[in-house]
């Protein structure tokens, strides 16, 4: 029976890790603390579940009777998303080029980077509020908001993509005596174009989502219809709007997959 003492002399491969255990305990402690601090109790939760049941009862079946209103809101959301994506993508194309550190001197790229970062820091809803206060209610505020959001996202990723390109191709084009614009068009763009399309498609998708939301603060689109339905307690109409939003976004996701495959 020699040498079959398998349990001895073997290290446990799944050792107990004190550090990770400590982190889990901290997280647990935090959860308990915040339940206490925010006054979340089971009683309130149960009461809420009762309300949820009532709400669900009033939401279903969804009411599509006012489909004209729904459709006009949806059309406005789509228009906002399309225009904002288009303008945002075109602007990001330039801003991204100017923000790329390997193409531009510091005195151009640093301020542009700051601008892009500024576009990213605030949530679109906050930007939407500021635009609604300054350009009034309606689609224009929504468009401007989503343009800002698009710049914050695409220009940043685009600049990063440009920074990763190979410089050999640029040298080759430069060696032929090409000017700056030709260098960009024939050596930078071909290397990053497919990724740029990828970002743009993603942004179109997320603008579509966000265009249904900026309406809540009055910047046009389906969100406005949704918010007023909420305020009038028309919960069955709310359900109809939510179903519309989810399905339009699913369709959008499907279409953007097709576009992505085409440009692969």
């Amino acid at each position: 029976m020699a040498g079959i003492e398998s349990t001895k002399n073997h290290e446990n491969p799944f050792k107990f890790n004190w550090i990770s255990a400590g982190i889990w305990v901290l997280i647990l402690g935090y959860i308990l603390y915040s339940f206490h601090a925010m006054g979340l109790t089971w009683g309130r939760f149960y009461e809420g579940l009762g309300h949820a049941e009532k709400l669900m009862g009033r939401m279903f079946p969804p009411n599509f009777e006012r489909w004209e209103l729904l459709l006009s809101g949806l059309a406005e959301s789509l228009e906002i998303a399309v225009i904002a994506s288009f303008v945002g993508i075109v602007l990001s194309l330039f801003l991204g080029l100017f923000a790329a550190r390997n193409l531009m001197p510091n005195w151009i790229s640093i301020p542009i980077r700051g601008l892009i970062a500024l576009c990213r820091t605030f949530h679109p809803v906050i930007i939407a509020i500021l635009f609604v206060k300054s350009v009034g209610f309606g689609a224009l505020a929504g468009i401007l908001t989503l343009i800002v959001a698009s710049i914050g996202f695409i220009a940043k990723l685009f600049a990063e993509a440009i920074e990763e390109i190979s410089l050999k191709q640029i040298e080759a084009i430069r060696a032929t005596g090409a000017g700056f614009v030709s260098v960009i068009v024939f050596s930078v763009m071909p290397q990053v174009f497919s990724r740029f399309i990828g970002f743009s498609v993603y942004q179109l998708d997320s603008n579509l989502r966000n265009s249904t939301m900026v309406g809540i603060v009055g910047a046009g689109g389906l969100g406005g219809t949704l918010f007023s339905a909420f305020q009038r307690f028309d919960y069955d109409f709310v359900a109809a709007i939510l179903i519309t939003i989810i399905s339009i976004i699913m369709i959008g996701e499907y279409l953007s997959n097709i576009v992505r495959r085409i440009f692969k």
């Binding site: 925010m38 605030f122 509020i129 300054s134 809540i216 976004i249 085409i262």
Partner: protein
Amino acid sequence: MTTIDHHWQRFTLKQKLARYAVYLVLIMAMLQSIQSVEVIPEFFYDAPEQMADMFNRMWPIDFAYYPVSVHDAMIETLNIATLGTLFTLIFAVPLALLSSNNICSSRWGHWIARFFLVSSRSVNSLVWALLFVSIFGPGVIAGVLAIALRSVGFVGKLLGEAIDEVHMGSIEALKATGASWMSILLKGYWPQVLPAFFSIILFRWDINVRESAVLGLVGAGGIGVVLSDSMNLFEWQRVSIALLSIFVVVIIAEIVVVQIRKRLI
């Protein structure tokens, strides 16, 4: 001697046509949208002036208001973001398991998971917040649940993809020892998914800090309540201190996330 006349092409005809079709559709959509969207041109020309006026009213920033009510609201916002991110896991982990190919092989499972994940992502956090405010009443609880349900789609999708990339070797080894289903998950999958898991959670927390700042606009607690109250009272200098503190907190959150990621991953 014949020369072979090669004509190099980057794309096939079919690819080209597909690309042009996409461009055409996009341009048509753009033109159609510009024509039918209702934008009042006067508002557009007036915008720079109006914006300058708004920023004028925001200045100087009312720093004295910070300890009065902005500070507590900001802490509440951070709590909403953190607790919401933690709550997400309750729904996101099962859905991620269901959506990944190497754990669940049923097509139905994938479809169900995808349906929930996409619905969670397509309903904006503000809309979730509206729903929960009408269920639980205004306050933090609605905010936490809104953040949680909104994040499920994001976390679940990325986590599912991370699980898909797991190397099956160690899992087969565990299966060969006759390990139970739970041990395979905990000792086979979990250690491999761990880095991705924390990076997804941190990333989402960073996003949630931004998102939870606006939930108060529909009454779901946090700094947004202060923001919307001061805006309704036209206290623009208070609006600017609220915006400034959101800005600072968002930046700090980003720095914290970057630092933790560096240490952890």
